[in-house]
Every structure is written in C-alpha cells, then in structure tokens.
C-alpha cells in the first residue's frame, strides 16, 4: 500500500484536467451576458427568446457552483494526499529501522533486551502507521466518490442542458427577423461550449474513475497487508 506514486501521478492528472474546466465558467457567463444583451436589444420581438436567456443564466451559475464544489472537494482531497505522504514516510522509515535492527550482528555494546523492546516498538509503530494509512486511503476513496457525483452533474449540464438550450436558441432565432445572425452566434457559441465542456468533463470523469480504482486497489492491498502484519510480519 505504500506504493502510491501511481496515486500521486493520477492526482496530478486529475488536477490538470480539473484546471481545464475553469475557463468554462467564464465562457458560459460571457455567452449568457451576450444573450441578455441580444434579447434586450430585440425588445418586444425578443420575448420568445427570454426563456432561453434565463435558462442560459441558470446554466452558467449552475456550472460555476458545480465547479466550485469540485474545487473545494479537490482541495480537501489534495490535503489528505499530502498528509498521507507523511504517513508513508513514517511507515517506510520505521520499516527500514526495523529491518536494520534485524540485520544487526551481535556486538558487546548492543543490549539484546533493548533491541527486542525497540523492535516490538517499531513493529507496533509500523502497524499503527499502516492502519492510519489505510484510514486515509479509505477517506480519499470516499472523497473521490463525492467528486465523482459532482462531475456527473457537470456532465449532465454539459450534455443535456446546454445542448437543449442551444437547440432552443436556434429554434427561437428562426422566428426573429433582423437580429438572427447575432442569436445564431450566441447559439453556436453555446453548442460549441457544450461540446467542449462535455469532452472535458468526460475526461475528468475518466480520471476520477481511474483514481477511484487505484484507491480501491490500495484499500484492498492495505487490508491484506494489515491481516499479514497481524500474523506477525512487517
């Protein structure tokens, strides 16, 4: 379980994938403001378009909220990973100490009773650290599942809601004379944003899934190692 370099690289990958989501919030807001401007300019004629504008505004703030939620969950997640780094370091150091004591040739100054007491102390410390590490990994697994749920919501926003809004915008635009091209620009923008957001959130989801799997693997290994160490090994 102490081999979490894969975990760390996956966390980094997830972090990068998440950072790619951030500009979508600004973009969604910009499109929403543009739509408002266009609707206002249309006046009476823009009435049928008003529902789309409201939808767009809601979508943008929903996206902002969801991405904010991922950000704060992810911050906690990364902190737990950092804490785990110290637990791992402790575990490794105590394992190395214990192995070293095992290898000691007898010397007149080395008191066997001290060595035996130290050995049991380090073995106990190893078991404690392993249990702590397992708790931390299980905690991470819980957190990543929370993140997964939020990412799923983002995907829904991206794939259904935004596409729907884009479609409605396009539909409404056909009824309006004059400002049609501007409405079209807005709706193409939404469609395009939805497309890219969909791809990015899909990528994010895949990474969250991979991380989830990795954590499950670590939890399983951790349980096995705990069982083994309770049988007396290191």
């Amino acid at each position: 379980m102490s081999e979490s370099s894969t975990l760390r690289s996956r966390v980094l990958g997830l972090h990068l994938a998440f950072e790619r989501m951030l500009p979508f919030v600004t973009e969604a807001k910009r499109i929403s403001v543009n739509a408002q401007v266009v609707a206002a300019r249309l006046g009476e004629q823009g009435k049928p378009y008003a529902a789309v504008v409201v939808e767009l505004g809601e979508t943008a703030s929903m996206l902002e909220d969801l991405i904010g939620q991922v950000a704060s969950s992810f911050r906690l997640f990364v902190r737990s990973v950092a804490d785990m780094g110290q637990q791992e370091l402790r575990l490794h150091s105590y394992q190395r100490t214990s192995a070293r004591i095992d290898r000691f040739p007898p010397e007149p100054w080395r008191k066997p009773e001290n060595l035996a007491a130290a050995q049991s102390k380090f073995r106990h410390a190893i078991r404690t650290e392993r249990a702590r590490l397992l708790d931390s990994v299980s905690e991470l697994a819980r957190r990543i599942r929370d993140i997964e749920l939020i990412v799923d919501e983002i995907r829904t926003v991206a794939s259904r809601r935004s596409r729907f809004v884009a479609f409605v915008a396009m539909l409404e635009s056909t009824k309006v004379e004059g400002e049609r091209s501007e409405i079209e620009t807005v709706s193409v923008g939404i469609g395009d944003l939805a497309e890219r957001l969909s791809a990015a959130s899909e990528d994010l989801r895949k990474r969250v899934r991979d991380l989830d799997e990795e954590l499950d693997k670590l939890v399983r290994e951790g349980h096995n190692q705990n069982i083994e160490s309770q049988r007396g090994g290191n």
């Binding site: 004591i101 001290n114 007491a117 130290a118 380090f122």
Partner: protein, 244 residues
C-alpha cells in the same frame, strides 16, 4: 555506522555514531551523538529524515527508545532536526528543545507539537537526575539562533556546525589525526557558512576557558586534547563571511 564510546563514568555516557557506509552521497554526512544519564537519554541534533533508520536502530541498541527524554536542536537546519516527526512517532513524550527563534519554524518539518524555546542566554538542560549540561549561545555561528552544548562532567563540547569538516570518503577517522591537514577540509566551510567575525569571536570567548577534552562537531572528525585549543586558535584568526 561507526560507533565510538566517547565517555563513560558509569552514570554518564557519550556515544558517537557516524560515517554510515549506506548513506547516499547526495546527503551531507552528519555525526550523531547519544548522551545518556542513568537510563535517560538525549539526542543532540538527531539528524535528518533520511538517516533516521540508521540512527534509530543504533540508538535502540544502547538505550530503551522510550527513555529518550530530550531532543536538542542546535538550530533549524534540515540535517539537524528534519527527523523530528519520526522521533515523536516512537517517543511521544520526548521534550524538544531548540533556540526560541526557531520554535515556530521547526514544526514545519511535520510535527504539530510545541517545541520548547531556549532563551538567548542559554540554559541548563535536565537529563535524568542530572542538570549540569549547559546550552551555550552560539548565535550567528552560523544560524541566527544557535546553541552548542557543554557537559562539564564528560568535558565534552558539542559544537554543532562549528568545527564542521567536509571530509573526502577516504578520511574515515573518527578523531582528527593531523590538524594541519584537517584545516583543508574545514576552512571553506567556516569561511562561507559562518557569517560574522564578531559572533564567532563572542562564541570563542564563551568557551575558551571551559575544561574541554573533546569538541564534537555535527560534521567531520572530533577534536581531542590539544586539537581543541588548536581549533579555537585557528578559528579566532579566520576571516569569515566571505560571500560578501
């Protein structure tokens, strides 16, 4: 690791460990000392994370690990005390002493546990039933808050980075054998790492009248007998702070 018993009068013991052959050469070599009084022990400058297993294993042969009462940090460098959280994991009740200037810095090595600050003027350190070991100010030699230790019973001066030498792998002696040659291994270090002539001379004034049999630095060989005096004379004449 090499091991050398420096002093033993039945109650008080000083043990040296160092020159670990398994130490990666990306790390500066450090000397470790274990001071035992009765059945209680102190580790002056217990060392960095990387060498914890070696040090902890060696210490385990000498003393019951839970009897380590004091971890003394002469200053805040990583080679001095970055192993703190590892020691605390196995000696939860240990007292951690460090210059007051660093008490809020040292826990950044990873221990949310208070460090007791040594006041600028120094203090005596209780170890087991004894209270004769003194922390002697060595501020700015090299860290802005720094202490050396003097044990009047063992006549040992633990000098932290003062007297440090960067030895080639071929020099494996625990004690300085040829002082003049040894100067070659410590001159650059002292010129560069020691910032102030005034501070350096103030420290020399504090220790020069002490009865010292051995001066034990945190890096390099130990000075014994006449070499202690030779070192203090050499250090007095040395111009330090050469990077400006």
């Amino acid at each position: 690791m090499k091991r050398e018993l420096l002093f033993d009068d039945g109650d008080r013991r000083w043990v040296y460990f160092g020159r670990d052959p398994e130490r990666p050469d990306t790390l500066i070599d450090t000397n470790e000392y274990l001071v035992i009084h009765g059945d209680k022990a102190m580790l002056p400058d217990p060392g960095g994370i990387e060498i914890f297993p070696q040090v902890a294993a060696e210490v385990s042969g000498e003393v019951a690990i839970e009897n380590i009462e004091v971890l003394f940090a002469s200053h805040q460098d990583p080679d001095i005390i970055s192993s703190l959280f590892l020691w605390i994991g196995v000696c939860p009740g240990v007292r951690v002493l460090a210059p007051w200037t660093w008490t809020l810095f040292i826990p950044h090595f990873g221990s949310a546990r208070p460090v007791t600050g040594i006041p600028d003027e120094g203090m005596t350190i209780e170890l087991g039933k004894s209270s004769d070991i003194r922390a002697i100010p060595a501020h700015y030699v090299h860290a802005s808050g720094m202490f050396t230790l003097y044990d009047p019973r063992a006549k040992i001066l633990f000098s932290a980075d003062i007297g440090a030498a960067l030895l080639p792998e071929t020099e494996t002696d625990v004690f300085v054998k040829d002082f003049d040659r040894h100067v070659g291994y410590m001159e650059a270090f002292h010129r560069r790492w020691m910032p102030s002539n005034r501070a350096k001379n103030a420290w020399i004034d504090r220790v020069k009248d002490l009865d010292i049999e051995m001066m034990c630095p945190q890096h390099g060989s130990i000075f014994k007998g006449k070499d202690v005096e030779r070192f203090l004379g050499w250090f007095q004449d040395l111009e330090v702070g050469n990077a400006v």
